[in-house]
């Protein structure tokens, strides 16, 4: 497995773990009580900071263990894979935004809607990472 694949796989795993924990926590709170803005913001910033820190640690470890490959710049195949994966994740995000728009007809809870948009954003990211891995393995 190349450095790029390990990097994408690591980011995928981190995104799934960190944001699964975040969404489970936030939606559990909304089940039992009302999620206030301060708590919601605290959990969101916490998740983002944790994600960034873990991603930095992951890439430091990957760089140390793959010194030769980590110096390589993105070549044309990497760029094409990123573009194709981004296009697919964009469709997921657009679908999500439309779904949130439609859900406004039935209920209006700003904090819930923000988290719903964030959920679709995270799903789009996960799809993007997964598609990158698929293209790296199967060819583009």
């Amino acid at each position: 497995m190349s450095f790029k694949e390990k990097s994408v796989l690591g980011s995928l795993i981190l995104t799934v773990i960190v944001f699964s924990y975040y969404f489970i926590k936030v939606f559990r709170i909304t089940e039992t009580s009302v999620l206030d803005i301060a708590t919601g913001t605290f959990y969101f910033i916490g998740a983002v900071v944790l994600m960034v820190l873990l991603d930095i640690i992951l890439h430091i470890v990957l760089t140390i263990s793959n010194k030769h490959e980590s110096n390589q710049i993105n070549d044309e195949r990497d760029t094409l894979i990123e573009l194709k994966a981004t296009r697919i994740s964009y469709y997921v995000l657009v679908f999500g935004i439309f779904s949130v728009g439609i859900s406004l007809i039935f209920s209006y809870n700003p904090l819930f809607l923000v988290n719903l948009i964030l959920l679709f954003f995270v799903i789009a990211e996960i799809v993007g990472f997964s598609m990158q891995l698929y293209f790296y393995r199967k060819g583009v």
Binding site: S2, K4, E69, Q72, D75, E76, R77, D78, F135, Y136, K138, G139, V140
Partner: protein, 70 residues
Amino acid sequence: MKNSLITNKIRYFRFHKDEMTQQQLADKAGVTRQTIHHIETGKYSPSLELAFKIAKEFEAPLEDIFQYNL
């Protein structure tokens, strides 16, 4: 992902150039070893620029290395 209609003889040309490795060719063409591997196995069609770089490295015409099969 289906293989492309473009085939190539990079493996053959590498062998006849002092058994050049994929990494050596990749370094000269400015791409990763994985990209050369995917081109050789038909999983990726290189850009015209990269195809010319590879042809230049082997000092051979482009059509000797890459073929388009309808």
